[in-house]
Every structure is written in C-alpha cells, then in structure tokens.
C-alpha cells in the first residue's frame, strides 16, 4: 500500500505538476524581477497578461529590463520565455532564439516575399550588379512598390542607386523586362506566380528565360521572439492566441502591439529579424 502511494505521488509529480509560468520580457525604466503585473500599469497591460493566463492555463509574468539587449540575453539564458526584440538585439542570440510574431500596420501588406529577377543573359550575379541600372516595379501599392523598395534598400540598393520605373502591375513589368525595356524587376511573389506558374504541361516553366537574383521577405523591424527549444505546441498556441487578439481583446492588443495604427499580429518565420533569403 505504501509503495502504491509512493508510485501515485510520483505519477502526480511527473504528469500533473502545475505548468511553470510564462515569463515575458518588457522594456522598462529599470530591471525588475518576474512577477504578475499589478493594476495601475500601462493601459491594456493587465488585460493582456490576464488574457494570456486564461488561454494558456498558467501564470504569465512580466519581467522588466532596462534594454532590449538585456532582455535578449535573459531570453537566451533561459530567464524569460518571450521578448520583443529588434534586429540589433536579436543578432547576438539568433542561434538560440527565433521570431514567432510580428505586427502588421493597418495600411501595410503582409510581409510578402519579393522576387528580384533579370534576363538569363544578364551579367548581374547579385543585387550589387544592379547599381545604376533600371529596375521595374509592379504597381504603386504597398505590395507593388513600398515592400520591394524596402527589400532592395535593406540589402544595399538604396533609393537613388538605381533607376526606378513603376509599371501598372507585375505582368507589365515582367513583359517589359523580357522586351528589354527594363534591366531587372522587383515584384511581389504573387505577381511573379501569376506569370511564372505553370498553366500547361506543354510549357512547364513559363519564366525559364528569367533568372531570380533574390527572393526574400522584408526584414521585420520588431518581432516577438522565443527560444528555439520552446515546445512546438506552446509556440503554436501563442501564435493562435495572438492572431485574433485585435478582435477578441482590443485593449490587450493595443498594449501588446506597442505601435499606433497596428492592425493585427501575424506569424513570422524564424529569421524574420535577419536578412535571410528564401529558396
């Protein structure tokens, strides 16, 4: 009987123990130990922590750090579980951590992949080879112009270092590239797909005459970051809780998004805070 009691206690310890708190790093005037937030904090703060706590079924603690670099170090060291970082603070810990969520502004496109392409015969091997040359964009929308411009700029092709032509849409830009009116195009992934996706087995590669120099999403300016060893289902639950936050708990969303004019949280690829390219 005694042995059975011991075994039962061990089973409870192994399987039924209370989940450890989720520790969220925030930037504040001074470092403070992890604790549940108290009333009187910034608007929406308590609502956000309460929402997370209810949905995760575990205590959620606020851990204050004087800088993002300190928060990043604490995340890498296992002292917190999630932190809002920027590219500079993320860089030293990128081997141990990954982005999971970014905030989309109300007038922003998704963080869409951008494709920079040239004709096969072009001498350019990378973006540096496009300096001083004519690059065409597929429209004046955020997805057609602002996002491709941003991708070029953060990879060394700032505005003014190339001649810019804004075509009505991606189809026209790609047509102009083929006819030699443009030397390169920078179009979003869907525009590329519209022209280059197979529409008949007779022509399996409609863009075989073109060469992709870069395919990349714009680098995020900020992201919620977790350690790469966070259990898969906890990471997905955090994404699943944040995705509808603007609809389910607007005050909590306004606090958590942290920027005016935010529309929603969006999931992010692991390298969202870097200049990684896509295959």
């Amino acid at each position: 009987m005694k042995r059975l009691t011991i075994l039962a206690a061990l089973a409870v310890m192994a399987g039924g123990a209370a989940a450890p708190p989720l520790r969220v790093a925030v930037q504040a005037a001074a470092t403070a130990p992890c604790a549940k937030p108290v009333a009187g904090g910034p608007a929406g703060e308590k609502a956000y922590y309460d929402h997370l706590e209810t949905r995760l079924g575990r205590e959620v603690q606020r851990c204050a750090f004087a800088s993002r670099a300190e928060a990043a170090a604490a995340l890498a060291g296992g002292k917190v579980d999630m932190a809002r970082l920027d590219p500079a603070s993320y860089a030293p810990i990128q081997a141990q951590a990954r982005a999971i969520l970014t905030v989309r502004g109300a007038h922003d496109a998704n963080r869409i992949p951008v494709i920079v392409a040239v004709r096969n015969a072009d001498a350019a091997k990378d973006l540096a080879g496009l300096k001083g040359r004519t690059i065409g964009f597929g429209g004046a929308s955020s997805a057609g112009l602002a996002t491709p411009r941003a991708v070029l700029a953060e990879r060394g092709l700032a505005a003014g270092s190339y001649r810019e032509t804004v075509e009505p849409d991606g189809d026209t830009a790609l047509d102009a590239l083929r006819k030699g009116r443009l030397e390169a195009v920078a179009v979003h992934g869907a525009a590329w797909q519209r022209v280059c996706r197979m529409v008949s087995p007779k022509d399996p590669n409609p863009c075989g005459d073109l060469r992709v120099l870069v395919k990349a999403r714009p680098r995020a300016t900020e992201a919620l970051v977790v350690r790469t060893d966070m259990p898969l289902d906890l990471r997905y639950r955090l994404i699943g809780i944040h995705l509808p936050l603007h609809l389910e708990a607007p005050a909590a969303f306004a606090y958590a998004a942290g920027v005016p004019g935010a529309a929603e949280f969006q999931p992010a690829e692991a390298e969202a805070l870097t200049l990684a390219t896509l295959k």
Partner: protein, 318 residues
C-alpha cells in the same frame, strides 16, 4: 521487492520526463488529448484534382506533428456533406466556402465559429464568381445569355450559385426567368467539362488569385489547364461578380480552447515556417491567414437567408 518497485517507479518517471522533452508542452489545458484520440477536419473535394489530394496529405502530416495526435480528414465530394458533418458535430474543424458557413450558421448558430480566412499579397480577402463561355461563342456579355443554357455548380456553392444570382438581381437580371435552362454540374471542374462538351452555353465558375482587371491565377479553368485537360484559349470570361469573402476555417465552439488555439496557430504559421509547402498546396506566395469573425460573412449569411426565402415563395427553378 521494495527495490524493484522503486526501480519501476523511477523508470516510469524517466519515461514520463523524456516524453516531456519531446517537444510537447505540459501546461494546463493540454488534457484535451485524453479526450481526443484524433482530431477530425472536414474538407470538400474530389480525387480528380491532384492539388486537393496533395493538400489533404499535407494538412494531415503537418497538423498531426503540431497537435501530437493523429488528424483524420473527412472528405466529401459534395458541399452538403461538409455542411452536415460540421452542423452535426461529427467533425471538430472544417474548411467551408462562405455560403457553406452561412448554411451551417442557419442550422446551428454560434455552435460553430469562424477562425480565419486568407489575406492575399495585395490585401484582398476575397475571390470571384465568373461567367465563362467557349471562345467561339457569340456571347459577349451577361445580357447576351438571355434565353441560353447556364450551368451552376451546386446549390450550396457560394461562387457557383448563391453570390452570382444575387449580383445578377442587383443588375436587374432575374436568374430564374432570364436563362432558357439552368442546371447544376455538381462541382466546378465538372462545370468546366460540361461547358467544354457543349452541355451548357455558359457556366458559372470560381476564380481567384487576382482580380478581373489583373486576371486570375487560380480556379477550375487553370487547374484543368495545368493537367492538360483543357486549353485556356478555348474559353472566355464575359462577366464577373465579387469579391466574395474567401473560404473559412471554422470550429465547433464546444471544443477545448487549447485545441482551437493550437490548430489556429499551427495553420497560420504554415506560410512562414513551410513556404514551399504553402504554395505546393495551392496557396499564393505572400498570402497568409487572418482572423475573422461571423461579421466578415454577414453579407453571405444574409444572401443565403434571402435565397431560402425566395425558394419558399416559389422562386428558384434551378
């Protein structure tokens, strides 16, 4: 004996501890796995579309890994099968077109709720209904279809029945009397083949991945063209209506919140964590899931209610 018991207990602990290290969270709310030996998701589709078959397997593999329990896909070749499986609670989640969700909403109300839809690269969250004729047809507009035969997709199809009929009425065309003959093809691809074979002079078909101005990249015409079964040059679009709120992933609201959040998060992460997989399953580069509520589908819900009232009052010969 006591020593053996301790060794057994410690061994059990070690196994449990290792299980905990296997990427599974131990937080509260995860006890749903003791109630759900598998998660059931309903989708509509037929085996004649390789993209859909691939999509099913992709969903199963990806979600099974994320959820830690097997995923079973309930496939139905007709719209009503998914609608009834969702309304009756035989499945936990379902992908539905807006019209299908409107039908479910009419049956069970808030026992089913939308989770997310797709937001495209340019920001749109809808698709289109198009009237397509053969390229050599004299028909150049909706008006030219007066007295001619028209093929709809299915009574429960949003883009293939519900939405275009409402759009026609807004343009002064009463679909129950305007056409010479109307019938249902059963599915979008069947509607294309029936049009190609001359059964209809025009067919209502779904189109997406663009706008009437930019042209489209997805839809039954392009699916069949990619398979080499038709040539796009043999068809012409003469009318379109939309955008229609895109397909939605819905859940039964009595399912555990932890399960709902997990499925929503795992699916939403797909285009970012597995971008090649995302396009392999037929999604467009740059698109992503965005959370929605019932309000997003209110127009479709109202249209479905009006269509039902119209039929009860003797309209709707299709």
């Amino acid at each position: 004996m006591a020593g053996r018991a301790w060794r057994t207990a410690l061994g059990t602990l070690a196994v449990l501890a290792l299980a905990g290290c296997g990427g599974r969270d131990t937080s509260s709310g995860d006890d749903w796995r003791s109630q759900f030996k598998e998660v059931k998701i309903a989708i509509s589709g037929t085996n004649d579309d390789p993209q859909l078959v691939k999509r099913r397997e992709t969903y199963k593999a990806y979600l099974g890994k994320a959820l830690g329990v097997p995923v079973r896909l309930y496939e139905s070749s007709d719209y009503n099968g998914v609608i009834q499986a969702t309304s009756s609670g035989q499945v936990d989640f379902a992908t539905l077109a807006g019209g299908g969700y409107a039908n479910v909403d009419a049956q069970v109300g808030n026992k089913v709720a939308p989770l997310f839809t797709t937001r495209q690269a340019e920001g749109e969250t809808g698709y289109y209904s198009t009237l397509v004729v053969k390229a050599d047809s004299p028909v150049r507009s909706l008006a030219d279809m007066k007295g001619r035969s028209l093929g709809y997709v299915d009574y429960n199809s949003t883009s293939g029945y519900l939405y275009p009929r409402a759009a026609m009425r807004k343009q002064g065309v009463e679909p129950d009397t305007f056409f010479g003959k109307t019938s249902f093809a059963g599915a979008h691809t069947q509607a294309v083949m029936a049009l190609a074979n001359g059964q209809f002079e025009g067919a209502i078909l779904q189109a997406s991945g663009g706008t009437p101005e930019t042209g489209f990249t997805r839809g039954p015409l392009r699916t069949l063209a990619r398979q080499g079964l038709i040539d796009l040059k043999d068809f012409r679009t003469v009318w379109s209506a939309g955008p229609i709120p895109s397909e939605v992933l819905v859940t039964r609201t009595d399912r555990p919140q932890a399960l709902i959040d997990l499925v929503r998060g795992a699916m939403a992460a797909l285009p970012y964590d597995e971008p090649q997989l995302w396009t392999d399953i037929g999604q467009l580069d740059g698109s992503a899931y965005t959370a929605v509520t019932r309000e997003h589908y209110k127009e479709i819900i109202d249209l479905r209610r009006e269509e039902l009232a119209h039929r009860r009052n003797g309209g709707g010969k299709s």
